[in-house]
Amino acid sequence: MSPGDFVALAVVLFVIGAVGVLVRRNAMVIFMCVELMLNAVNLAFVAFARMHNNLGGQVIAFFVMVVAAAEVVVGLAILMSIFRARRSASVDDASLLKY
């Protein structure tokens, strides 16, 4: 498999993730889609690192993983408290903060 195929896979994964964020209502699924997008980008970074023989891309992938882990912790905490208060994980229900 050439590195180009990994980039193509990353694009596919990213699009799936983006569409999932835009069309799904369940906050849990949206989170997973966000993770999917992050990992697609990680995959692209690693592929580009391999293509250019440059370790920078692999290092950034680690950083992204750390940030993603922190993001998941905070996001899940928020999600938990919203679910406790409203008995729903739908992001369309939590629309009070508006004009």
Partner: protein, 647 residues
């Protein structure tokens, strides 16, 4: 030829240096301080001064008069060209090169006014003690009267225009307070406001004149302005003359600012006598005569003064001929007499002394006439309608005698005051020469006839004929405190004119100030004779109309001419349609423009921004997914732009 000589001589006379005062004259500020003390004590002292307030109010003018006589006696001891004395008090304003001192100028012209103001003023104050005896506000009345005297003396004693202006505004304030003295009467309150507003128009003219003086000459002192006057251009001088004339018109109730004087009769009668007959309304004449060196250099402004005077003397006389209210008839007469003075002042140096001579004589007889009117009102329950008088000569003998004396003086019956004072004015008008001289001279001659007509009418309607009194009227002679001042004024009215004019006494006295030169033999020596003939003819006409026939108790319907005169020759209507209505339209227009134009623009901008942001706000839906979409689209745009830029 002789004109230019006269101008040169008068300029030389005005340029003479003013010497510092010595001796008793150094205390000239006492003249201001005496009445000012009276005003301050009476107005701030409150009710605890009620009991003796009127005594203080009389004592202060008397003290000022005594001092004025002393200063006058000292002045007579100097030779003619050294009589102008300066009393420096303190420096008022010092801004850069602009310095104004509070200084008084005692010269022949101001001493004439000081003696008139304090002398006649004292007599009127004494009269007021009796006239206002039953008025609750007598103390306040005397306070205002003293305030008026202080302001008027400041006006005539000031040695610069700015200080004169302070006095000028002071007399305006006192006049306002005294016209509206009985402010519970709506008519009095309205009349006071009217007088104040009409005067503001004139005051604006005077203040603009002073500003023009400052910007042209860099000084506002009489000495400084007059010595530099010949350096100014003719346009500036004419503008200056016309602005001063506007100021004089306001204060002296001359056309076109005449309308306030008739309404000013709402004030107590002594006020009408002192302020609106003898002194304040003559301030305009003082201003013109004092500013003689400016008017000497501008024939156009002089002509305007003469025309205003001639027009007003006819205007006032015609109004006075139709009024049934004795005070308003006398007020019309005052306008007319001041018109004479303005006319004489418009003639120039040849007329100034005669303007002042008439002014002083008028101070006596018009104050006497007004005080007599006050005595009549005192005895007739404040009735002023002459149609309800009649036959009063038998019950009010002293009032009748004094009134008759003043009557003979004002119509110019020889050898009393008016005969000398007025005929010299008519002569001076004809002496002016040319077409204008003839026109104003003829106006003055006709005016003499009209004077005789309206005064005879007042005399006949008041003192002769059937008794047309109201049922509850019991006319009685006033107490001595009111009759004696009138008797003294009547004596002055009889003899003062002859004293002034015979032997050129007053013209010679005033000569060094006014630049008077005796005229060459008269072109119309018979002017005096014609005036005499007109006087008799018009008196006979008045007798035929008002003496021989009974007078109806209500005014009969009259032709257009008499109706017009009864309505002040439509002076108020003209003011209303020419000034008030357009003014109201202008206000309405600006209010409309402000509401619709200025406010409209501001409101439109605000509403547009508000509406737009209101719509823009709807973007904040609260749906996370729509935010995510916009972020996504933004990212796509960004990446697209980067790619395009790269390629």
């Amino acid at each position: 030829m002789t004109g230019s000589l006269a101008v040169a001589q008068s300029a030389a006379a005005h340029a003479e240096a003013t010497l510092p005062a010595v001796g008793a004259q150094r205390a000239a500020w006492l003249l201001l301080v005496f009445p000012l003390i009276g005003a301050v004590v009476l107005l701030l002292g409150g009710r605890r001064t009620d009991r003796w307030g009127h005594l203080l109010g009389v004592a202060m003018p008397l003290a000022a008069f005594v001092y004025a006589v002393i200063a006058f006696a000292q002045m007579l001891g100097y030779p003619g060209d050294q009589r102008s004395r300066n009393v420096q008090i303190y420096q008022w304003i010092a801004v850069g090169s602009f310095k104004v001192n509070v200084g008084l100028q005692l010269d022949q012209l101001s001493i004439c006014f000081v003696l008139l103001i304090t002398g006649v003023g004292s007599l009127i104050h004494i009269f007021s003690v009796g006239y206002m005896a039953h008025d609750e506000g007598r103390r306040r009345f005397f306070g205002y009267m003293n305030l008026f005297l202080a302001a008027m003396l400041l006006l005539v004693l000031a040695n610069n225009y700015l200080l004169l202006y302070a006095g000028w505004e002071g007399v305006g304030l006192a006049s306002y307070l005294l016209i509206g003295f009985w402010q519970f009467k709506p008519s009095a309150a309205v009349a006071a406001k009217k007088a104040f507003i009409a005067n503001r128009v004139g005051d604006a003219g005077l203040s603009l004149g002073i500003m023009l003086m400052f910007s042209t000459f860099g000084t506002v002192t009489f000495a400084g302005v007059f010595s530099h006057a010949h350096q100014a251009g003719p346009g500036v001088l004419t503008a200056l003359g016309l602005l001063l004339l506007l100021g004089a018109c306001g204060k002296s109730a001359q056309l076109p600012l005449q309308s306030w004087l008739l309404d000013a009769m709402e004030g107590p009668t002594p006020v009408s006598a002192l302020i609106h007959a003898a002194t304040m309304v003559t301030a305009g004449v003082y201003l013109i005569v004092r500013s003689g060196p400016i008017f000497d250099l501008t024939a156009d402004a002089r002509l305007a003064v003469a025309i205003v005077g001639a027009a007003t003397l006819l205007f006032g006389g015609i109004i006075g001929s139709a009024k049934d209210d004795i005070k308003k008839a006398l007020a019309g007469s005052t306008m007319s007499q001041i018109g004479y003075m303005m006319l004489a002042a418009g003639v120039g140096p040849k007329g100034y002394p005669f303007a002042i001579a008439l002014l002083l004589a008028h101070g006596f007889y018009k104050a006497g006439l007004f005080l007599d009117a006050g005595s009549i009102m005192h005895g007739m329950n404040d009735e002023v309608n002459m149609r309800r008088f009649g036959g009063l000569y038998a019950v009010l003998p002293i009032t009748f005698t004094t009134f008759a004396a003043c009557y003979l003086a004002i119509i110019g019956f020889p050898p009393f005051s008016g005969f000398f004072a007025k005929d010299t004015v008519i002569d001076a008008a004809y002496h002016d020469g040319g077409t204008t001289g003839w026109i104003v001279g003829t106006a003055a001659l006709i005016g003499a006839g009209i004077t005789s007509f309206y005064m005879t009418r007042i005399l006949l309607m008041t003192f002769f004929g059937k008794r047309r009194w109201a049922e509850d009227a019991h006319p009685h002679e006033a107490p001595p405190v009111m009759t004696w001042p009138v008797i003294l004024l009547a004596l002055g009215a009889l003899g003062f004119g002859a004293f002034e004019i015979l032997g050129d006494r007053l013209p010679d006295f005033l000569g060094p100030v006014t630049g008077y030169v005796p005229p060459e033999p008269s072109v119309v020596t018979q002017a005096g004779g014609i005036a005499l003939a007109l006087m008799v003819i018009f008196a006979v006409i008045a007798w035929l109309l008002f003496g021989r026939r009974p007078i109806p108790e209500t005014a009969p319907a009259a032709g257009p001419a008499v109706s017009a005169a009864r309505k002040d020759l439509y002076g108020d209507a003209i003011n209303e349609s020419l000034l008030m209505r357009p003014g109201q339209w202008l206000t309405r227009l600006s209010v409309y423009f402000d509401n619709r134009g200025v406010d409209g623009l501001v409101n439109t901008v605000a509403a547009t921004i508000g509406g737009t942001s209101g719509r823009l706000r709807r973007v904040q839906t609260g749906y996370v997914r729509s935010y995510a979409l916009s972020m996504f689209l933004g990212g796509v745009l960004l990446v697209g732009a980067l790619l395009l830029a790269r390629i």
